[in-house]
């Protein structure tokens, strides 16, 4: 015999299940899927980083935080700059103190709680800076794992977060292989670089691109054959991060090295 209490309990669970959107159960024909994938928009934002040009001044990080209202002293940032130093003994040292918000104003490598490590100039084989930001993947795993549809890919390829819809479960933060997501210290919702969506849609450069004195960062539209950034990406040697994940990242790098992950 089923008790009344059990019956009502099961009913509530059943109703909750039935209330997931009917649309989510609808069957998709492959043709419709393809039609949806075929872009109606003529814009697909992409990014190009030239690591040879980057001097590690961190002006991009400062500008990003101020432009996008990321609390300045909180240890989170939408973009950051990493320093890589390879020494003659084959070791790779990497750091990004405060995400390089204040640049790199010491030769000492920041080891976090283990202090720091000064490397003599003579011991350096290779050393360079690598700016990082959201890759706006063509197949974004962070979007796949969102249970409520709060993060999504806009028609122009940029992955956005709907702050009023995010429930703060953190799946997307775990799902991103590039570690670009974090919780916003004020809104407590998932936060990430969105290529300064408010700026690029007004014809402006992103804050980081505009702040870079050396042209190490550039943004472009891969669907525009006359776009200088698109031209470089399609005709020159560029690399992407963690290609093996199949996420199809859309931030391209000139001068990437195997040490960079």
């Amino acid at each position: 015999m089923i008790s009344r209490r059990d019956f009502i309990k099961k009913t509530v669970i059943g109703v909750a299940g039935a209330s997931i959107p009917v649309a989510a159960l609808e069957l998709l024909t492959p043709r419709r899927l393809r039609a949806e994938k075929e872009d109606k928009s003529r814009v697909r934002w992409v990014f190009l980083v030239d690591t040879y040009k980057c001097v590690g001044c961190g002006m991009c990080v400062k500008a990003c935080k101020l432009e996008n209202e990321i609390p300045y002293d909180a240890n989170v940032t939408r973009t950051w700059v990493e320093r890589y130093v390879t020494t003659k003994d084959g070791k790779v040292h990497a750091d990004t103190p405060k995400g390089a918000r204040d640049g790199f104003i010491t030769s000492k490598i920041d080891l976090g709680t283990d202090g720091s490590l000064d490397i003599r100039k003579e011991d350096i084989d290779k050393a360079f800076f690598v700016p990082k930001l959201c890759n706006q993947c063509e197949n974004p795993p962070c979007v796949q794992v969102c249970p409520v549809g709060a993060t999504y890919q806009a028609p122009d390829g940029v992955v956005l977060v709907d702050r009023s819809w995010c429930i703060g479960c953190g799946y997307c933060i775990m799902g991103c292989p590039y570690g670009v997501r974090f919780f916003h210290p004020v809104y407590h919702t998932a936060e990430k670089c969105n290529f300064c969506y408010h700026r690029i849609n007004k014809g402006l450069q992103t804050a980081c691109v505009q702040a870079c004195p050396f042209g190490a960062r550039r943004i472009g539209n891969i669907k525009d054959p006359r776009d200088p950034v698109a031209k470089i990406i399609t005709t020159e040697r560029v690399a992407i991060l963690k290609e093996e994940y199949g996420t199809k990242p859309q931030v391209y790098y000139i001068g990437l090295d195997k040490e960079v992950k």
Partner: protein
């Protein structure tokens, strides 16, 4: 049918109706499947417009050109011309109405972002003349001697 079947059934129907009503009001009209299908394009469409309305804060160097013509002119003839004014002075937002003045950062750290000597072979940093902050006039603001808008040595104060 018996009462003990009908009554819970009524409860169930009521619950379903209630959830549907709440859902109809709670889920916004623009929420649904968009261009990239269910996997990547299931979202509230109005949010795209919300993001477009976010406030722009960095206005760019051309914005300063008319009012601070002298500073602009000076710096444009120097190697510091490539540095946007707002990198050193912070975002203009609605300056001069709000804020009335921009910050003037005279800290040594501002200059050392580029001028701390890091001769990294394949980085542009190696091409910028560095000064060792422990030896080059320690404790004094760089702008006591150098003019940041005219960094050439003929601009020394």
């Amino acid at each position: 049918m018996n009462n003990h079947v009908l009554r819970p059934l009524l409860v169930v129907i009521l619950l379903v109706v209630l959830v549907l009503i709440v859902r109809a009001f709670y889920v916004p009209k623009s929420f649904g499947v968009h261009q990239r299908g269910y996997m990547y394009g299931w979202y509230r469409d109005a949010n795209v417009e919300d993001w477009k309305k976010f406030k722009v804060k960095y206005q760019g160097t051309d914005y300063c050109k008319d009012c601070h013509a002298k500073n602009h002119e000076t710096i444009m003839m120097t190697p510091h011309a490539i540095i946007p004014c707002e990198d050193c002075h912070g975002p203009a937002v609605d300056h001069p109405s709000d804020p009335a003045k921009l910050t003037i950062d005279k800290s040594r750290e501002l200059c050392l972002r580029c001028h701390y000597p890091l001769a990294y072979p394949t980085s542009g940093r190696a091409n910028i003349r560095g000064v060792d902050p422990e030896k080059h006039n320690p404790g004094m603001e760089c702008s006591l001697c150098h003019n940041p808008h005219k960094p050439g040595l003929e601009g020394l104060k």
